[in-house]
């Protein structure tokens, strides 16, 4: 069954051109599932990078923006899309010219699987 899930996520990865990594972690950045194409994007998968997202969400909400669900960070070579699916965090890493809308559209296709993965964290 886990192979099926990996296959499914690999399929999603190939659907969006320029998408390098899909990673599901808990809120501390501990990975539960990761599918990636051969690309060196370790900076976005560092254990310290992902928890920063949760803190940034919390702190940014105090600036008056309200609670947000997604943070998109654009870099010179990459883009990182992080989604708040507490207790999970969904991270996508793509190239800078990857269609961000396509990445965001993957959210609904992943939701069904996240429910199962959440149970592993909350148990």
């Amino acid at each position: 069954m886990s192979d099926d899930i990996k296959k499914y996520f690999n399929g999603l990865l190939k659907k969006v051109s320029g998408l390098h990594v899909i990673q599901i972690t808990d809120r501390d950045g501990v990975p539960l599932l990761r599918v990636s194409q051969e690309k060196n994007v370790d900076f976005a998968l560092m254990p310290s990078f992902i928890p920063t997202f949760t803190t940034a969400c919390d702190q940014a909400s105090k600036l008056g923006l309200g609670r947000n669900k997604t943070i998109i960070s654009m870099y010179s070579n990459y883009q990182v899309v992080q989604m708040n699916k507490l207790p999970l965090i969904l991270t996508f890493v793509g190239s800078e010219n990857c269609n961000t809308g396509h990445i965001l559209a993957l959210e609904h296709q992943v939701d069904g699987y996240l429910e199962d993965i959440k149970q592993a964290v909350t148990e």
């Binding site: 069954m1 886990s2 899930i5 803190t55 149970q119």
Partner: protein, 180 residues
């Protein structure tokens, strides 16, 4: 003369602003429901009260109960902590390497158990007409000879039409570049 007048106006406005600021400051000092708790934080601090518990507890026995005061204070501290934008808190979230690897193991074990036990319901069937309701009805229904004949006729007509497409070029197909 006008210049002197405008400068005078500016100085007057600055003075009035300072006056306003002083007023605001003075207003803040006046006790209200917010400042009351922090007017004399040393005297109201629970630590000090504990140390001088005999004298103070007698003093406060007539006024508000001690618990209310403490909860109000703790609520105030809590609210301040919640509302404060604390960028330094980001460093506190780093996990120990050992804990990190342990958690990875635990999660992978749990996921394996879960996925081996449960047949996943969300796997969608791939195939034609999957988004059409009641597609079985249309698939099992035999196609009538008339329909196939009509389809064949349309395809033949379309083929003839495509074959008859011709392009009449009026200008030269190869255009020479303007090389001197």
């Amino acid at each position: 003369m006008e210049y002197v007048h405008s400068v005078w106006n500016y100085i007057a406005s600055v003075c009035s602003c300072m006056h306003c600021a002083e007023d605001v400051g003075a207003q803040n000092i006046e006790p209200n429901e917010r400042t009351h708790l922090l007017v004399d934080p040393v005297n109201h601090s629970p630590a000090l009260r504990r140390s001088n518990s005999d004298g103070l507890s007698n003093d406060y026995s007539h006024s508000l109960p001690k618990k209310d005061d403490q909860t109000a204070l703790s609520r105030l501290v809590q609210n301040t902590a919640i509302n404060m934008i604390n960028v330094g808190a980001m460093d506190c979230h780093s996990l120990e390497h050992q804990e990190y690897t342990d958690r990875i193991k635990i999660y992978s074990q749990r996921l394996h158990q879960q996925w081996n036990n449960v047949q996943h319901p969300n796997i969608t069937m791939k195939g034609l007409l999957k988004d059409v309701p009641n597609h079985q009805f249309y698939i099992t229904k035999p196609i009538s000879a008339k329909d196939t004949l009509q389809m064949k006729l349309f395809i033949e007509k379309a083929l003839i039409g495509v074959n008859q497409i011709q392009i009449d070029h009026k200008e030269a197909v190869v255009v020479p570049f303007q090389i001197p």
